[in-house]
């Protein structure tokens, strides 16, 4: 835990800097009491503290990322490391074992080579911890002294502090861009590697999905990586079955809640719907696998379907539809509420009944918003993981029968990445390619939906 030690050290040093800067400002004030300081003493303190804390935090982040690598490098130069096997996997296992013992995470070594490395590891860790502490102190003293020496009665500490604060605010908002870039970079990088082994044509247009993680990585068979059955399964479960459940139920719930329900009912029914949205998807998945799927299988068997699967697309789709209901309902709620009251009153004044008003006036007027809501719901359904992981199967099937077992993109991502596969194998890398496709599709759906909503809202303003 050397990172938390350095963090505590940083906080302590920044506090010391704050006190020193403030004391300095007070001494200016008492030295020439007639003359006002350009900033309050607290701001002098903050100025020094920020000058110490910000560089230290940057250093700490870099250090905790690179120090373990440096430690390993140091250990590898040790003579005891000379007779390590060159084979990468085994070598890493031995190193990991020695490190675990050296840091006290485990008490035993099973490999004789690892035992020899424990002491070098311990020494290297201690050495780098010392280097880390010394570097922290050095940076703190240098930055703190620089800031401290700039303090003067005329020093505009507040302006300087506020400039730093604004920079920190800007950095915080840049995290969102960095995350997006991180997602894109990690997906694109691995996807390109995947397409180096498997042709994109095979992947996007092939109809046979049966990756073999045991096959040699170099001679991967492109015909086993056809993702069409996965895309079909995803669309069938997420965009067809789930929406058949979610759209009517969600839309009618929203209509009832906004147009018919008494306020006292609405007060109870709306939170009840919101609870549906708050249930974790792993609970839905368990419900689907434990209760819904067997019930559907039994029902199908009693109707005379011979080979009804216990992992049917129907079970996953139904439960996913239930999960999406509150989402569709609240989107429809918003867009119906956005229709001007005058349109509704006009229709009622012409003698239309309430339901005619809703069907002929409100729904058509709210349609863009409802369509956008449905698109967002689809994007959420096809990205949903746990329900399908637990209730759908891993067997890829290109079929239109809802009682068949099917698999989806997210199921395959989980299946490919939770095995023991290495990152040089197309079966593992295919997960990133699937993730990339998923990312692009959901992005497109969200983008179009948000555009539609934006345009629709402007229509009545």
């Amino acid at each position: 835990m050397s990172a938390s030690l350095l963090l505590l050290l940083t906080i302590g040093l920044a506090l010391a800097g704050w006190l020193a800067g403030r004391a300095r400002a007070w001494s200016f004030r008492s030295a020439n009491g007639a003359q006002r300081l350009a900033a309050l003493p607290n701001y002098h303190g903050w100025y020094v503290a920020l000058w110490i804390a910000v560089p230290l935090l940057v250093f700490l982040a870099l250090w905790s990322a690179f120090a373990p690598g440096l430690v390993t490098q140091a250990v590898l130069t040790d003579p005891a490391a000379a007779n390590l096997p060159a084979f990468d996997f085994q070598r890493n296992a031995i190193l990991a074992q020695a490190r675990a013992v050296a840091t006290g995470a485990s008490g035993m070594v099973s490999h004789p080579d690892a035992a020899a490395l424990v002491e070098p590891y311990r020494a290297a860790i201690a050495r780098f911890r010392l280097i880390g502490i010394l570097a922290t102190l050095g940076i703190a003293v240098a930055a703190g002294a620089f800031a401290f020496l700039r303090l003067k009665p005329q020093f505009t500490a507040r302006t300087k502090v506020e400039r730093i604060v604004l920079a920190i605010l800007l950095l915080a908002s840049l995290v969102a861009i960095l995350t997006t870039l991180g997602i894109l970079a990690s997906l694109v990088f691995e996807t390109v590697r995947f397409f180096g082994m498997i042709s994109p044509i095979d992947f996007l247009f092939g109809t046979h999905w049966a990756p073999d993680p045991m096959a040699a990585a170099e001679s991967a068979d492109g015909t086993r990586y056809g993702a069409i059955p996965l895309f079909w399964g995803t669309i069938f479960i997420g965009a067809i079955i789930a929406m058949i459940v979610a759209i009517p139920l969600g839309l009618m719930s929203a209509i009832y809640l906004t147009q018919y329900a008494k306020p006292s009912y609405r007060k109870w029914l709306k939170p009840a719907l919101e609870i549906l949205a708050g249930v974790p998807t792993v609970v839905y998945g368990y419900f689907a696998a434990l209760t819904v799927a067997p019930a559907i299988r039994d029902a199908a068997q009693s109707l005379g379907v011979a080979n009804a699967s216990s992992e049917s697309a129907l079970a996953a789709g139904l439960v996913m539809g239930v999960m999406i209901i509150p989402f569709v309902s609240s989107m429809a709620d918003d867009s119906i509420a956005a229709v001007p009251q005058a349109m509704r009153d006009g229709s009622l004044a012409m003698g239309a009944t309430k339901s005619e008003t809703i069907r002929r006036v409100l729904i058509p007027a709210a349609l863009p918003g409802i369509v956008a809501g449905v698109m967002l719901a689809v994007s959420r359904a096809i990205g949903e993981t746990m329900i399908v992981v637990m209730a759908a199967s891993t067997a890829a099937n290109l079929s239109a029968n809802p009682l068949d077992s099917m698999t989806t993109v997210t199921v395959q991502i989980v299946a490919m990445l939770t095995g023991e596969g290495s990152f040089d194998h197309p079966a593992t890398l295919s997960a990133f390619a699937l993730g990339f496709v998923l990312f692009l599709v959901t992005l497109a759906l969200n983008f179009v939906a948000l555009r539609v909503v934006k345009r629709f809202r402007e229509a009545y303003e």
Partner: protein, 422 residues
């Protein structure tokens, strides 16, 4: 002038029989439509109630376990507590060395019969050991202890399993030696291979550590970003880009964040696989956009007159925001944060990606030790073949749902308490 002029042929009376029939039909359609709406919402609520009832009915027995009453005469056993031992684990080892497992098995066989004794849970002696450590005077008397039965016997008690198990369980039950009892250890133990011996404390602690990291990262970054975008950001291409990426991140499937964590965080920190630190960082990226969006709405709701008033008496823009706007917006931001954290608490898929699905039998000791979290534990148990895990899984789900209920309740309470109209 006295007679009413006959109606012109174009103005036929409105209330003709055909009109009445049409009107009736329209009213029927109206009623049907209304009932359809009510039906839709009732179906949704019914599904929710069905889900909750299933979990509670299944999970109620998950807080229990099958226990066997075993009288043990410790005076005969000749056990002693090692006075030099410094901690519990060492005392336990010394008791094991003195033959505690055999002692337990001997007395079990004596009171229950050979067959039943072999059906005792393999970890039963550990509970005896813990009881001895808690109360050393036990070693000087005879005590009847309730010990966990093995999974076969537990299944037999539930009317499942092989006929022999069922017969044995029925016989023991008639003798009053086998019964289901509330199992306080379910909340204080960790994962195990035997459903009789599992607990959720390890997963709960992992969840808490992960949530702590998430909060520590997502809250400051989210609030600061919201402040920047709402209060200072100039309207230009850069801020548009930030805004678009925040809105998109809020809608990106969670599994994509798992892929990011796997490819980036585990590439930087390869030794921290399945650690709460990495899980927390991954979930923080997912939660941050939620907090930014909630924070911006809360900040937007603070009336401009407050800013103008502060500026008018000489506060700088930064002072306005940190002394006036932020305190007023904080309840709204906190509500959004709690909702985002509740979502992160129930999240499973991204944590599967970064390897938190490993079997972890000891509670995590810190942010960098291997851990699992409650939803992942539920997922792992749902995969187990042993029937005993069904009840345990549902019990864990009840605990998870209770936590979420408390968090959402807190958010609603905060919203109602601090809701202000200026």
């Amino acid at each position: 002038m006295s007679d009413a002029a006959p109606l012109p042929p174009s103005r036929t009376p409105t209330r003709t029989p055909a009109f009445e029939a049409r009107l009736k039909k329209r009213y029927r359609a109206e009623k049907r439509f209304k009932w359809l709406g009510l039906g839709a919402i009732l179906v949704s609520v019914a599904v929710l109630l069905f889900l909750l009832t299933t979990m509670v009915v299944n999970g109620a027995s998950g807080f229990q376990r099958a226990e066997v009453q075993v009288p043990i005469d410790f005076t005969q056993a000749g056990l002693s507590i090692d006075p030099t031992a410094s901690d519990q684990a060492e005392i336990m080892r010394s008791l094991e060395g003195q033959g505690l497992p055999q002692v337990v098995e001997f007395f079990a066989a004596k009171s229950l019969g050979e067959q039943a004794a072999s059906e005792l849970s393999g970890d039963a002696w550990r509970e005896v050991g813990t009881a001895i450590i808690d109360d050393p005077s036990l070693l000087r008397r005879t005590e009847t202890l309730a010990l966990p039965a093995g999974s076969d016997l537990a299944a037999g008690l539930d009317g499942e399993g092989s006929p022999q198990d069922r017969a044995l369980a029925a016989q023991l039950k008639n003798d009053g030696k086998l019964k289901r009892a509330f199992d306080p250890g379910f909340l204080s133990r960790s994962d195990a291979t035997d459903p009789q011996a599992v607990g959720i404390w390890g997963a709960l602690k992992g969840s808490m550590l992960t949530m702590f990291v998430t909060l520590l990262l997502a809250f400051p970054i989210g609030v600061l970003a919201a402040l920047y975008l709402e209060e200072y950001a100039p309207k230009n291409r850069w801020t548009d880009l930030i805004e678009v990426s925040i809105n998109n991140l809020a809608a990106v499937p969670s599994i994509i964040f798992g892929l990011l964590g796997l490819a980036v965080f585990l590439w930087i920190f390869p030794n921290l696989r399945s650690a709460p630190l990495i899980g927390g960082m991954t979930l923080a990226l997912m939660t941050m956009p939620v907090i930014v969006i909630a924070g911006r709405n809360a900040i937007k709701a603070v009336p401009p007159s407050i800013r103008d008033g502060a500026l008018a008496i000489g506060a700088s823009p930064v002072q306005v925001v940190f002394h006036h706007v932020l305190p007023l917006a904080l309840p709204g931001i906190l509500t959004g944060t709690i909702i985002g954290m509740a979502r992160a608490l129930g999240e499973t898929a991204p944590l599967l990606m970064i390897g938190m699905r490993a079997f972890v039998a000891t509670p995590p000791s810190g942010f960098t030790s291997p851990a699992t979290v409650l939803p992942v534990q539920i997922f792992l148990w749902s995969d187990e073949i042993d029937r005993g895990f069904v009840a345990r899984t549902s019990a864990a789900i009840i605990v998870l749902l209770l936590f979420l209920l408390v968090m959402n309740g807190l958010a609603i309470y905060l919203r109602n308490k601090f809701e202000k109209t200026w």
